[in-house]
């Protein structure tokens, strides 16, 4: 149960980051958002 909650949280945070990336006008910020998504996606897919 706690693992499911954790994955849902990761999906939620990843979605917020993607949303912010699309909203941002600054290229540098977009790149930083990209880096932030990677570990979350690895967790969503249960790879790490």
């Amino acid at each position: 149960m706690i693992l499911v909650t954790y994955r849902l949280l990761c999906v939620f945070i990843a979605a917020i980051i993607v949303w912010n990336m699309f909203k941002s006008d600054k290229s540098q910020e977009k790149i930083v958002y990209c880096f932030l998504i990677i570990p979350l996606l690895l967790r969503v897919f249960l790879v790490k």
Binding site: M21, F22, D25, S27, K30, C34, I38, L42, F45, K48
Partner: protein, 389 residues
């Protein structure tokens, strides 16, 4: 609303691509190295046979049975309880690929905590694999962590309460197989693995259980046989015999108040005589410089040379390092000696195992000489046998 949409999409696609690339690296950690069935292997089973709940989980692992034609004692050997103690795992593999049992039987589990081979310790920068050259090719082996992969068992509790003693340990020890014996059938993954191993010992009536480990050279519990009190005589005689052959393996009593370790719990909860052996492995210590596969194989590091010259190590450390040959040779020689002494002490329970390379042979010819490749031994002294893959 999204003025830079194309750039965002390109970056998102790049991110997904990078996630795939990194993810593949992590997935590779789950690939199991091949273990070749030697001529002495009569059957291969799964640990889940002793606890069906383990089937198809990250805790299931291969169990190799080497049965002699003559009935006798059962000896259980396990490596890979801690996946960062490579000589233990490799010695168990060497047994599977070389030993021929004439009387009694050997049961060998080279990767006792399979899950711990699928991750490495955070922030240590250690390699995930190492390679050993054999005469007919290169074999690869995983280098893992001391603990079960958190992807298989998470989260850790605030305090780990050992079952059944109630002893309190640090949070992460909940994923340490050698703090989880005797385990429980409905516990967490590490406890279930411990329970299945204990069941194996119990159901197969193992007379002797040998757990192969490694330790930090700055840890005083190194190059030693840790023994349960019922195995004290056996271990003491083996230690003396080894000493007379130039292989120093000190005797350490299994502490009665430190629970969860195989030498204590298997001895207390089953009929087996239980021992655990430790050799010195520099990559496990904090003193080393770069942690690469060369350090796993040679144990050579300038900081250790300096530490040794200042008397800070508990193992003899020469400029040549503490090679895999030295460590595996020490384990295999100790196993052979324990079997010899067991046969002397309990003549009614026969155990006779042939074709184990000696300490000097492994040190001089290398571990690779005694690893099989495609079912063919590269060891010149090895007899022809019905080797399979």
């Amino acid at each position: 609303m999204f003025p830079k949409l194309p750039l965002s999409l390109i970056l998102l696609a790049t991110t997904l691509l990078l996630t795939g690339v990194f993810g593949r690296d992590f997935q590779k950690l789950h690939e199991r190295e091949p273990v070749v069935q030697g001529p002495g292997v009569t059957r291969v089973g799964k640990l889940s046979a002793y606890l069906p709940a383990l089937k198809d989980t990250a805790g299931d692992t291969d169990v190799y049975y080497l049965e002699g034609r003559e009935a006798g004692a059962t000896v259980f050997v396990m490596g890979g309880v801690h996946a960062n103690e490579s000589a233990g795992m490799l010695s168990a593999v060497l047994l599977v690929e070389n030993a021929i049992v004439k009387a009694g039987r050997l049961i060998v589990v080279p990767h006792a905590n399979e899950s711990s081979f699928t991750n490495t310790a955070p922030s240590e920068g250690v390699p995930t694999r190492f390679e050993i050259k054999t005469a007919s090719g290169t074999r690869w082996f995983r280098y893992g962590d001391r603990l079960t992969n958190p992807i298989d068992q998470w989260p850790d509790p605030e305090v780990y309460v050992h079952y059944p003693s109630g002893q309190l340990l640090s949070d992460f020890e909940v994923r340490n197989l050698d703090r989880s014996f005797p385990g429980r059938a409905d516990g967490n993954l590490t406890e279930r693995v411990a329970f299945a191993l204990t069941e194996l010992v119990r159901k197969e009536n193992a007379d002797l259980s040998i757990d192969l480990h490694e330790a930090r050279p700055m840890n005083p519990i190194v190059n030693c046989i840790i023994t349960h009190e019922r195995a004290k005589e056996l271990a003491a005689l083996a230690s003396i015999d080894l000493d007379s052959k130039g292989v120093q393996m000190r005797l350490e009593p299994s502490p009665k108040k430190l629970r969860g370790m195989s030498h204590r719990e298997l001895g207390d909860h089953t009929q087996t005589l239980s021992v655990l052996m430790e050799t010195g492995n520099p990559i496990q210590d904090k003193l080393h410089a770069r942690a690469d596969d060369a350090l796993i194989l040679t144990g050579k590091d300038d900081f250790f040379t300096r530490a040794a010259s200042n008397g800070l190590l508990y193992v003899p450390y020469l400029e040549n390092g503490l090679s895999m040959e030295e460590r595996v040779g020490r384990h295999v020689a100790s196993i052979q000696e324990l079997l010899n002494v067991f046969a002397d002490l309990y003549p009614q329970k026969k155990i006779a195992v042939d074709h184990l390379p000696s300490y000097d042979q492994i040190r001089k010819q290398g571990v690779g000489q005694f690893l099989l490749s495609n079912g063919i031994s590269s060891a010149p002294s090895k007899p022809a046998g019905p080797a399979g893959t």
